[in-house]
């Protein structure tokens, strides 16, 4: 017997634990991708249950099927076009009333529904008692109490899905249709008859009740064929009559009618008992949203986030770095040598390919840790509080508090920050936010500062780096302000944001989330960084047989570009060259400098004999040590920050330090850092901008804007510095 495939769409409001439920249902079979044409996450999973093959599709979180947000479009189009066999409507049991609004609309769509009453345990703890049998009876659908976090009710949910699937095809009983007020129902019937006469094809394409109500509401974006003039006239007549009859606009009328159905249901189904338990969300918000302390607490948490990310990830970075540079690279070089590959090919593979991939891989621990903490902040519900606190400041720039969240993420890495702007509904707000993100100093840039600062500003390390971070923010604000005033002139945007209750995210949720995003970074950005570093390698080695990087094509290009940086204090071709390569990824700047200044193309010293077993043991030991080191850092962190000797990842590179010390003065080093902070986003970010805004124009403009801003700012700072010293 071949198994039957059940196509199940999972729908629900944001913050209802939809993702957690999908994880609980699907386990590790989850595939994450994007919806075609938009970068909204699409999760899919296949699972087997009692001889059925269940195909789960996670639809974006929506509050209704009415508006025109990208999420709502995807949801409604999927439900209408694909006609899933069963829809799981994930409902937050602690907030039944608002969640049922979407349920009512799903019922209008006449889809076979199973309601998952999620957070059942939380609702019980809050003293909310839901008579779900009664709810089933009233709505004529299956309802299953579930706790996705604890994995409770998951089996029952699957059982209900199969049951609904097997009883499909049965006409919904008339008593199950949720009726509006009589007069409105008469008009619905009237319009339905008119459609049958005037344009019956509409009834073949769309569920009839949903179609009629949507036409009356004027919510017609999902209808692909033009509506005939005659029908349009009828619709207008119906609308006019209704507005006159009820003395309110049509949108209010329909929404209120839906809610009056909901209220009559919740009155019969929900009982609330007083509980003596303290409301944690209320108490935490008293602190986190406090008028005076809210902001300082927020900045403290941000500082903690970065401190944790960098402190905990750096042992792993060192470890990854050593695995690649002292194990994989020499090993491959050795194999190639044995196989009789030419020095040219060896150099290409070891420096171009492994070097390129290495830069991406070494960078992964920072991102992973950053994503861990971000996932915690998101899962806990704090992110929306940050948006709440910052909204007032962002509104000056024509933005809203929501656009602040991507900027925070930008401090970790600009790439996911750009993707995070997908939650911004307004296109102009989104563009403006995306243009600000490259000025947020990311982790990659920090590695370069760390190198320069230890050479030139040993005494004032922290102040210099802090200054750079703040400068980035200040420049972003100025640029956004100018853009806002000159080009967008938007009236202040609205800001409506749900503040969900604080919840402690499970470790599983955090790890899975962080891993999914790290993987996405490796795929999306990795390919680009890899490709570009291969190109740079070629440019450094053409014409073939070139001995000095200075005479390579790369050197020539750098020399041509160098005069642009002359007024900024670092007009030598080496600096220009490393900045050029920094376009690929900011941390590549250091590597390029190393390559250029050391002046040798192939390091023959790499070809020593390697004992594979010994090396592997060494790597294993290294990893354990990295764990111990990270653990130590975590402990010292809580043991009141004993500021020990900070090890910088570039400590052993003595010769490079010396050359750089001679090539720069503190002032030119400083202006070099300022320029590095502000100039063009890296390739991965540019690619992300193009993808997220779906426009090369804005991606290009972002480069132009940041480059000009960087040049002007650095010029001003360099000249002020020169005048002062």
């Amino acid at each position: 017997m071949s198994s039957k495939v059940i196509k199940v769409a999972v729908v629900g409001n944001p913050n209802t634990g939809k993702s957690t439920l999908i994880n609980a249902l699907a386990g590790t079979n989850l595939h994450v991708g994007n919806w075609a044409g938009v970068t909204i996450e699409k999760k899919e999973a296949f699972l087997k249950y009692k001889g059925y093959e269940i195909h789960l599709i996670d639809l974006p979180g929506v509050y209704s099927l009415g508006n025109n947000t990208a999420e709502e479009k995807i949801t409604i189009e999927f439900l209408i076009r694909e006609r899933p066999d069963v829809v799981i409507d994930v409902v937050d049991a602690t907030n039944l009333e608002r969640n049922l609004y979407l349920t009512i609309q799903l019922l209008e769509l006449e889809l076979p529904l199973v309601i998952a009453l999620n957070m059942w345990d939380e609702a019980k703890a809050k003293g909310i008692e839901i008579d779900y049998k009664k709810l089933e009876e009233l709505l004529c659908v299956k309802a299953v109490p579930v706790s996705a976090v604890k994995g409770e009710g998951v089996q029952e949910l699957l059982e209900a899905v199969v049951e609904v699937y097997e009883s499909r095809g049965k006409e919904r009983e008339e008593k199950c249709v949720l009726h509006f007020e009589d007069y409105l129902e008469e008009e619905i019937k009237y319009l339905l008859e008119k459609i049958e006469k005037i344009q019956p094809v509409l009834l073949d394409l769309y569920p009839k009740r949903f179609l009629v109500i949507s036409l009356i509401e004027g919510n017609t974006f999902f209808i692909d064929i033009p509506i005939s003039d005659e029908l349009n006239r009828e619709i207008l007549k119906v609308r006019e009559r209704l507005e006159k009859m009820y003395h309110k606009d049509i949108v209010s009328l329909i929404v209120e009618e839906r809610y009056s159905i909901i209220i009559s249901i919740t009155e019969q189904v929900v009982k609330k008992h007083k509980v003596k338990k303290a409301d944690i969300t209320y108490i935490l918000d008293r602190l986190f949203l406090h008028k005076v302390f809210g902001l300082p607490v927020f900045f403290f948490l941000m500082w903690l986030l970065f401190e944790f990310t960098f402190e905990l990830s750096s042992p792993y970075i060192d470890w990854m770095d050593s695995v690649i540079s002292s194990f994989i690279a020499p090993l491959v070089a050795h194999w190639l040598y044995e196989a009789g590959a030419s020095p040219w090919l060896r150099s290409f593979i070891v420096e171009g390919v492994i070097g390129g991939v290495g830069f991406v891989v070494v960078f992964v621990p920072v991102l992973f840790f950053l994503y861990l903490f971000m996932a915690f902040l998101e899962g806990s519900g704090y992110m929306s509080r940050a948006a709440f606190l910052m909204d007032r400041f962002m509104s000056v720039l024509g933005l809203s508090g929501k656009s602040f969240i991507p900027m925070i993420i930008g401090f970790g890495c600009n790439v996911p920050a750009v993707y995070a702007t997908r939650t911004l509904e307004d296109r102009k707000e989104k563009i403006l936010t995306v243009l600000m993100i490259p000025f947020m100093s990311c982790g990659a840039r920090l590695t370069v500062y760390a190198f320069f600062v230890t050479i030139f500003f040993r005494e004032h390390k922290t102040i210099v780096i802090m200054f750079l971070y703040l400068l980035g923010i200040a420049v972003a604000v100025v640029v956004a302000f100018v853009m806002h005033k000159l080009f967008f002139k938007t009236t202040s945007h609205h800001f409506i944001l749900e503040l969900p209750p604080y919840r402690l995210p499970t470790l599983r949720f955090i790890l899975r989330n962080a891993w999914i995003r790290t993987k996405a970074f490796l795929y999306e950005a990795g390919t680009f960084i890899f490709a570009t570093s291969v190109i740079i390698w070629f440019l450094l080695h053409i014409p073939i047989g070139v001995k000095k990087p200075e005479n390579s094509v790369f050197g020539m290009i750098s020399k041509t570009v160098a005069p642009v940086f002359e007024p900024l204090g670092f007009g030598n071709w080496q600096a220009a060259g490393s900045l050029l390569s920094g376009f690929v990824a900011k941390e590549v700047v250091l590597a390029t400098m190393g390559n250029i200044y050391s002046g040798q193309v192939v390091r023959e010293g790499d070809l020593e004999e390697i004992d594979l077993k010994e090396k592997l043991i060494e790597i294993g030991k290294g990893f354990i040590q990295a764990n111990i080191e990270a653990g130590k850092r975590l402990i010292t962190f809580f043991g009141i920050l004993s500021d020990g000797e900070e090890t910088l990842p570039v400590g052993e590179n003595r010769s490079l330090v010396e050359t750089v010390r001679n090539a720069f003065t503190p002032l030119t080093a400083f202006s070099f850092m300022v320029f590095l902070l502000l100039y063009t986003p890296c390739v991965a970010t540019v690619f992300a901008i193009r993808q997220e805004l779906n426009s090369w124009k804005w991606a290009g403009l972002s480069i132009v804007i940041s480059f000009t801003t960087a040049w002007i700012t650095t010029f001003v700072i360099y000249n002020i510095g020169k005048a002062l010293l």
Binding site: Y63, S64, G66, N67, T94, N95, L96, E97, R98, Y101, I128, D249, V251, S252, V255, E256, Y259, T281, Y282, D285, R286, L289, K291, V292, G294, L295, S384, A387, F388, L389, D391, R392, F393, S395, G401, S492, H494, F495, I496, L497, E498, L499, P500, P501
Partner: protein
């Protein structure tokens, strides 16, 4: 009375929304329909948004939006 004038910790009943059609629809769908009981919980520093309780959940709105929501006092415990 407007929602922005309601004191912290006070409850009121929504009467009418004077907002653009899209905004109005959005807020209605989120449960801010006439007759709904709303409680003002907190406000952000420097005239930032307000946190309100709508039914069983919390929502943040800008002052300018709260200014355009007409409410009446009510005395539900």
């Amino acid at each position: 009375m407007r929602l922005s004038e309601v004191g912290r910790g006070k409850q009121c009943r929504v009467k009418e929304l004077y907002l653009s059609p899209e905004m109005k629809r959005k807020l209605l769908e989120l449960g801010l329909f006439p007759g709904q009981i709303v409680e003002v919980l907190q406000d952000a520093p420097f005239g930032g948004p307000v946190k309100i309780k709508v039914g069983d959940y919390c929502l943040a709105l800008r002052k300018s939006e709260a200014d355009n929501i007409e409410v009446e006092e009510c005395n539900v415990q």
